[in-house]
């Protein structure tokens, strides 16, 4: 689960990380009021969970409360990468001397948390990492010991933080690590962490991603989830614990298991087709779950044909077949189906489908060929 910038910053502030003064606004009037309180130039920042906000016009610097109101009315209600903007973070503008990058995430390779920092932060940080990897300082954190002061100090010296700012830098580094630990984050990032012209360190932006598997430990966060910016499919998928990702193609896919779902997409592409989605119904899926998955796939108007590939282990083929039969009895659709059921109770499953006049394929290879043929026939 991704947190908004304002949510991340609230958490940062709780852990002694300096952030600019400011508040959330959901109307031009709010924005004006906050700008008056801050009494100086302010920055309006759209709170949407997409990258590249600034380049898409979601961040504006304004000089007066009136201008804040005008600009806020333009951004609020507009869309950034298809996501409607409903809230703005209104913050005091800060004069920047230097932009630093600081982030931490799970490093699979070492099996530890990796903390990275660079003196050249900002929007081009990935470019810096590619072209001058020596400018990225790294510290590995032992999961049983946690981050120690000397490690934060080593980062500070390596990226040449002025000595008078070390104490503040160490506080921020440890604050970010504590935020990351306490919230079970898989990513915590400050980019940029700026040195102001006044010589202070301040977190200008913040990003956190929380481990979905750890959300049971954070019921308060689950309540704060922003579903206003999520699509019907995303909300439905979460409700039924389905993994769904929309893709640009026209062949809807319903598969059990993430690896097999990817392999099914691969073979579709291998035969010249394009998958419309990734959808994993997980292990031991019930008929209800299958029905929900089918509804999600069929509401996508790009879907011209559907390929269902189930390898029953924990999942029972008859349960899946019942889900398909039930859903198709409820939903009117002309979309042709190709279904392949193998494994636990495959005989019973195929009988159920045959009774509903649904065609089944024996191999994945054959199923993919049929589905691609159907999608191409549609294209003509």
């Amino acid at each position: 689960m991704r947190l908004h910038e304002y949510q991340s910053k609230e958490i940062f502030a709780d852990h002694h990380i300096p952030i600019p003064r400011g508040r959330l606004a959901s109307s031009p009037e709010d924005a004006k009021l906050i700008a008056e309180e801050l009494n100086g130039p302010v920055v309006l920042k759209a709170q949407v969970l997409v990258g590249g906000r600034g380049k898409a016009g979601g961040i504006r610097l304004v000089r007066s409360p009136e201008e804040a109101s005008d600009e806020a009315s333009k951004i609020l209600g507009s869309k950034i990468k298809e996501i409607p903007v409903r809230r703005l973070l209104v913050e005091e503008a800060v004069n920047i001397q230097q932009e630093i990058y600081m982030g931490m995430t799970i490093d699979r390779d070492s099996g530890s948390t990796l903390l990275i920092a660079s003196a050249e932060g900002g929007v081009n940080i990935e470019e810096v990492a590619k072209t001058s990897p020596e400018k990225i300082a790294r510290v590995y954190v032992d999961p049983l010991i946690g981050l120690r002061d000397f490690q934060a100090r080593n980062l500070a010296t390596e990226i040449e933080i002025p000595r008078e700012l070390w104490r503040s830098f160490i506080t921020i580094t440890k604050g970010l690590y504590l935020s990351y630990q306490k919230l079970d984050a898989t990513l915590a990032e400050i980019n940029p962490l700026v040195i102001t012209t006044g010589g202070r360190l301040t977190a200008l932006d913040g990003k956190m991603i929380i481990d979905d598997n750890a959300l049971f430990r954070h019921p308060d966060l689950v309540e704060k989830r922003d579903i206003s910016s999520e699509s019907f499919e995303e909300i439905e998928a979460r409700k039924f614990s389905l993994e769904y990702i929309k893709l640009p193609g026209d062949i809807g896919c319903l598969v059990n298991g993430a690896g097999l779902a990817m392999a099914t997409m691969d073979i579709i592409q291998h035969h010249g087709g394009q998958p419309a989605n990734f959808l994993d119904i997980g292990g031991g899926a019930s008929a209800e779950k299958v029905a929900a998955a089918l509804r999600i796939i069929l509401q996508d108007s790009q879907v011209k044909t559907v390929l269902i590939n189930i390898f029953g282990g924990i999942t029972r083929c008859d349960e899946v077949a019942n889900g398909i039969k039930k859903t198709l009895a409820q939903i009117e659709t002309d979309v042709p189906f190709t279904i392949r059921l193998v494994g636990t109770n495959q005989k019973e499953g195929r009988e159920i489908l045959a009774s509903a006049n649904l065609v089944t394929a024996d191999t994945l290879q054959e199923a993919a060929e049929i589905a691609v043929r159907k999608s191409l026939a549609f294209a003509k």
């Binding site: 799970i106 990032e189 691969d266 282990g313 494994g343």
Partner: protein, 289 residues
């Protein structure tokens, strides 16, 4: 001989009285697995599965009484980390964790905590292992594979079934099939399993099934090139997957250009590993070796 699980396996099931644990214990018993004990705290003293298996309150007692040397975990995610540590502490040598959804930070700690103990962890989020026709420790359906000379190692669940089933259709059997688990942090990696297959007299060929993300496949490829004598056939799932759902900059900075399907397939090819385009092509590649 197979690897890791065989006729010497004395299995203990953690979470044997739960729905999944009970169902799969029954399946394992029917397959021939020697289940010697179950553990469910608070239910010690009961007998389950038609009175065949005694239940204990703790792993330690179960090991003392029954001599269990392997444990399989079916307990829910929020208790599974504890179950792994209890198994490691209780004295079993192999722990197979089927449970999916353990918080990744907890796994980081567990992996470090058991590093210096004499115990191997497979998983979590693993379908387990099967050495046909003797024993299975996990949830891989018993009827989709038979005994043979191919060792299979994979990060997936159902995709693995697909592959061993395709092998069976082509009348190719497996020595042992191992699912190392699909989570970012798992106890055992490809190289660990490849080295076991390299030293196993029953295994003549190895099938390695990877997927996008992480660097495990790339590292395994150089191990194959530098150390292995047995031929390896590979498959990587995720060529058609969209470029990683972005995990902020940190992930991209760390991973750089590696971890993609393309980089993994290239690493495999450079290591002399034949790469299948789709799962059902794997039997052909083995026959052509």
């Amino acid at each position: 001989m197979s690897i890791l699980v065989n006729t010497d396996t004395r299995l203990l099931v953690q979470g044997i009285t739960g729905y999944e644990g009970n169902f799969h214990s029954d399946q394992m018993l029917s397959y021939g697995t020697n289940i010697v004990a179950g553990v469910t705290p608070g239910k010690g003293g009961e007998w389950v599965l038609d009175g065949k298996v005694p239940v204990f309150d703790s792993v330690r007692t179960a090991v003392e009484v029954t001599g269990a040397n392997t444990s399989i975990i079916f307990v829910p995610a929020r208790f599974a980390g504890d179950a792994i540590l209890e198994a490691a502490d209780g004295g079993v040598k192999l722990v197979v964790c089927i449970t999916e959804g353990i918080p990744v930070k907890e796994m980081l700690q567990i992996k470090h905590a058991i590093k210096h103990k004499d115990v191997r962890l497979i998983g979590p989020n693993s379908p387990g292992l099967i050495s046909p026709p003797i024993t299975k420790v996990g949830i891989i359906p018993g009827n989709i594979t038979h005994s043979g000379a191919v060792g299979v190692v994979s990060r997936s669940g159902t995709l693995t079934y697909e592959v061993v089933y395709a092998l069976k259709q082509a009348n190719i059997g497996t020595s042992t099939c191992v699912g190392i688990g699909g989570d970012p942090i798992v106890g055992t990696d490809f190289i660990d399993i490849l080295s076991h297959f390299e030293g196993d007299s029953q295994t003549d060929y190895v099938v390695m099934i990877g997927e996008i993300g992480g660097l495990d496949e790339e590292k395994a490829a150089s191990y194959v090139a530098n150390t292995m004598t047995k031929p390896v056939v590979g498959f990587i799932a995720g060529r058609a997957a969209p470029p990683n759902k972005r995990m902020g900059h940190a992930g991209a900075i760390i991973d750089g250009g590696v971890g993609t399907a393309e980089s993994k397939i290239n690493a495999f090819k450079n290591a002399g590993i034949q790469v299948a385009h789709y799962p059902e092509e794997i039997p052909e590649l083995i026959k052509n070796l």
